[in-house]
Symmetry: C2
Subunit: 211 residues, 2 copies
């Protein structure tokens, strides 16, 4: 089972490394990081670089596609090389997925039309012009399309997907192996839960977070 | 504020990328991935490669040290290049931290003697011979030493540390920016919570998980 993790200049590291850590433990998983060109790809803040194993053109029929989010997404919304590739691999994928603003790329490729989907809470409204129906849920499954909310939510998406593919027992074994028993010291991880002044602060500075 | 993230051959990706995603958002943060040699470093399953920006010898006084865990840890338990470096940077660090089996490297360097500490639940007992006092907690602070349990727990550690350094408001802003509102689909992330047969299964195969 080939799992293609799509990255690009100024992607957000945890968006893909969270899902990678879980999905790479699927039976017979072959994970491959893909980008426009194989080689080093720099994350949003420039301080993290991973190696894309293959160029998009070298990966033609992954079983699972995971599209990263990150500030670099906005520069790709009309990029036919990427959007065309997404449409092409989606034609044969078993699961087409995204984390954070990665769903905007799926939407721009026309893949979320008429579908329920999610994204980073600051980007949700941007799904609408592409005919997707945004929801505030953390992980949204609509057919074979699975979208996750911001950054860290890719972990919950991956574990959900793991269970769908390999069953609850194996999914729980991976949850235990990675000791995924989250205990955040604060309860401010969604706009519904965070103090209002912090929500306002992030809304005012959203351009620093998403673009 | 310089944050050194220590990786090595066969580290576990999420162990460091979790903390990186949060700590890199500290005010004036300079994150640097360090390894024995600068350049590509391959993770445990061989499918993920990040670039270490600097060699250990090039980083002499980080403010925060984060030591990754992963199967590659066991080959380093008598590695004086790494252990000597850990002792040297610990002399001036503000925080010395680890995720998963990374705490065994701190312990082997003699830094956790007489201190409360944690590790991956399958590795906890290995802390004792080094004079550390293992606890089953997810994040353990003892003075400037902060250790986290398995893999995903580095996120909780990093957010805890973020709050200690930059205050609760900023920590909550980062929690909201990364939408860290975990909603795992199962509740099997610790040996106390997982079904007994799954705990037994992982104990029986622990050598595949940790070494």
């Amino acid at each position: 089972m080939q799992i293609a993790l799509v990255v690009y200049d100024r992607f957000t590291a945890l968006d893909v490394v969270g899902p990678y850590e879980f999905l790479s433990r699927l039976p017979d998983a072959e994970t491959v990081f893909v980008a426009k060109a194989a080689g080093p790809v720099r994350s949003d803040n420039g301080a993290f670089t991973l190696i894309a194993d293959k160029a998009l053109a070298e990966v033609s029929s992954p079983d699972i596609v995971v599209v990263s989010g990150g500030p670099g997404q906005s520069a790709l919304m009309e990029d036919e090389q990427l959007l065309g590739w997404l449409r092409a691999v989606d034609a044969t994928s078993t699961w087409t997925t995204s984390v954070c603003s990665g769903s905007l790329l799926l939407a721009a490729a026309g893949l979320l039309r008429g579908r329920r989907a999610t994204s980073h809470w600051l980007a949700l409204d941007q799904l609408k012009p592409f005919g997707a129906e945004p929801t505030g849920e953390r992980v949204v499954l609509d057919g074979k399309y699975v979208t996750a909310a911001g950054v860290s939510s890719g972990i919950d998406m991956a574990l959900t997907l793991f269970g769908q593919i390999a069953g609850e027992d194996r999914a729980q074994a991976v949850q235990l192996a990675t000791e995924y028993d989250p205990q955040p010291p604060y309860d401010a991880g969604s706009p519904q839960k965070a103090p209002a002044h912090i929500v306002d602060l992030l809304r005012a500075h959203s351009r620093f977070i998403l673009t």
